[in-house]
Symmetry: C2
Subunit: 406 residues, 2 copies
């Protein structure tokens, strides 16, 4: 059973974290100078490991095992959210680098091997999962042309300036890639709460978002009697309260929902709110549960529209389908964990990942390691070093099994 070089793995992770370092975290928005420098460094490390590596037309860093015909693809992303953590994405990318490198050390000149990749812009600075969508052939020219980033800057302009435009786009090859495996921090508290060191992802949740807008009338809150008001704010409070109660009743065992934002306008203490906006999001791995939640939103909005002369309307602003992970690969991961004397916990991923995009095109699985305190998208994000190394070894064992049957 091959094991990774834990020190080398951690050293590479720590080095990657110096690009855009912010305290204990990282600020490395896709295509920023820090992000591009990190990509150049990663490409160099892949070459040093013996991979044929290059940065492609959208910024993906792709390292291929030389002389191979069948490979397992490992990766994730190296871009971050603003002031994010040092492991979100980076972990899976360095897992790919180390496992590909270790495989080449043990099996030099083999016909099978490991390809490693860092997908561009998973965090949606310009276009969510830009890299994995391009790699999977699931990105239209129109989307690419229409994408804009910070300050409304066109993606095409940014690609030109970065020197990526005009390069070849790396592509998934079903004849070559037998599986895609993504290691990632959980970004939630469940593994830690259960005392589990390895999670195997059953599926990535689907997400739907609605913007509910209440339109009333601004009136002087001192001089307008209660029964003559068209109070958009009070209507929002009543609907939101009802929504939370209904969601609780309709929830499946894994459902989550969030009223993430409320905005009142004009928002003054002495003015009856003329407009109120509520952001509603819910996630589940089951499309039927998502449909149930959506029906609740629509029914609530219909019931409230016109009540106290306040108009109420909802717009669906996001719909991402759930993505099931490959059951056979999940079993391989669980068995690999057992070979390291660890019982893996099965759990859904409540966050989106590049694996969500790949799953539609190639057998895909995800492995989670615990997040300290469940924290992520924050400089507080962290994972015990022992868990980081264990995750790499479980993936290494799974890769060995997939490539050699052992």
């Amino acid at each position: 059973m091959i094991t990774v070089d834990g020190k080398r793995l951690l050293d590479d992770l720590r080095t990657l974290a110096t690009f855009g370092k912010v305290g204990t975290g990282v600020n490395r928005l896709s295509f920023s100078p820090e992000d591009r420098a990190a990509r150049d460094w990663l490409c160099g490390r892949m070459r040093e490991a013996g991979l044929e590596a290059a940065i492609d037309a959208v910024g993906n860093v792709y390292g291929r095992a030389p002389g191979t015909r069948r490979t397992v693809l490992l990766g994730s992303h190296t871009d971050t959210v603003p002031n994010g953590g040092w492991l979100d994405g980076a972990l899976g990318v360095i897992y790919g680098l180390e496992i590909a490198r270790r495989w080449l050390e043990v099996h030099p000149g083999g016909k099978t091997g490991v390809d490693a990749i860092s997908f561009q812009d998973e965090e949606s600075t310009y276009l969510a999962c830009l890299g994995s969508r391009s790699f999977s052939g699931a990105l239209s020219e129109a989307e690419l042309a229409g994408a804009r980033g910070p300050g409304g800057r066109p993606l095409t302009e940014t690609l030109r300036e970065a020197g990526y435009a005009g390069r070849l786009a790396a592509r998934l090859d079903p004849a070559r890639h037998v599986a895609y495996l993504e290691g990632h921090i959980e970004q939630g508290p469940r593994l830690e709460a259960e005392g589990c060191r390895i999670g195997v992802v059953t599926g990535i949740v689907g997400i739907r978002r609605h913007q509910v807008v209440f339109t009333g009338r601004a009136d002087h809150a001192g001089t307008t009697p209660m029964d003559l008001r068209q109070d958009a704010g009070a209507a929002l409070v009543d609907l939101a309260h009802e929504l939370l109660g209904e969601f609780r009743k309709a929830a499946g065992p894994q459902s989550v929902w969030n009223l993430g934002n409320v905005v009142f306008a004009p928002g003054a203490a002495n003015v009856v709110p003329a407009e109120a906006r509520l952001t509603v999001e819910f996630r589940d791995t089951e499309p039927a549960v998502l449909d149930r939640f959506e029906a609740i939103v629509r029914a609530c909005v219909e019931r409230y529209d016109g009540r106290s002369r306040v108009r109420c309307a909802a717009t669906r602003t996001l719909a991402i389908s759930p993505a099931a992970m490959d059951a056979r690969l999940g079993e391989v991961l669980r068995q690999a964990a057992a070979r390291h004397d660890v019982a893996a916990m099965s759990l859904p991923s409540g966050a989106g990942h590049d694996a969500m995009v790949l799953a539609a095109h190639v057998p895909t699985a995800m492995l989670f390691v615990p997040s300290r305190g469940g924290r992520s998208h924050d400089v507080a994000e962290d994972t015990a070093e022992a868990d980081i190394v264990l995750g790499a070894n479980v993936l290494m064992t799974a890769v060995e099994r997939l490539l050699t049957g052992e």
Copy 2:
């Protein structure tokens, strides 16, 4: 029975509305160039009317009937809210000008008369009711020194720049001023709804405001199970819903309340709200009712504090005591209305006015005329010309009664 010159009254009102004109409304923040030009114009009109007029140390425009020992003081304010209406404040000031002028025409050289005043900054650009508080001797040097306006500019600097600093401050004189009468638009829909053309104010409501702050924890809204969240937003929705129900039960016949603003932070669709802020305001003419509402806020906050590990705390950010109007003066106004064949409606004022300040020092009454559609603090603010003139005539008749007993 003396009557006012309706055309002259309307002409002066229309001329005043040209200072800071914005469509059908007015933008005339206190101490702005438009406001200062309007004050200079008003001071000139007072002098043309035969009053001894001057602008005082804080910007009050005060016109005294020459040679008199006993006067009725009439006035209001000429500053406006941003993009406000043409009548809020201006009406009562031009009533004062016209009634003082008409009195001098009918009783030249009399020992009794009418003083007219435009108080500075009723609308709180620097310091709420600055002018009437200074005039009433209810303003400390420390408050004056600490007041700041747009962009944090000290009031003292603005007074210097306007050339007002160093002047005498006009003062209320209990031996001279037998009463303060303020005409004003209702700024609400009640007179119009009841088909009444004249309102007599019973009292000005007290106001209390609370800022309720919920402190939870920001977590990823996809990866954090519902039972592990500390959701400040959901806590706010539940408390606000309960508060609205309790307020409805505790309300007196004139009570009004408003949840004027809600702010969630960080306010992202996919992040559990870490903090949520709710602005609560309630108004009533009865201190006991205000106390009842306040007890509800405190009890709710106590019940919610710690629920689902979310902290909840409330801070009282404003407390203005109710101000009763002088009952005898109210009766004089009602009788004056009857002499014009109009039945006056008694109602509280839900908004604050300079009369609220004066009432603690001199017998005070307020007369309301209807606001079209109840609109105010908006360029849509308007009142029928016939109602404007009627209001002036009712006040004129009341003044005649107070000064001559007729």
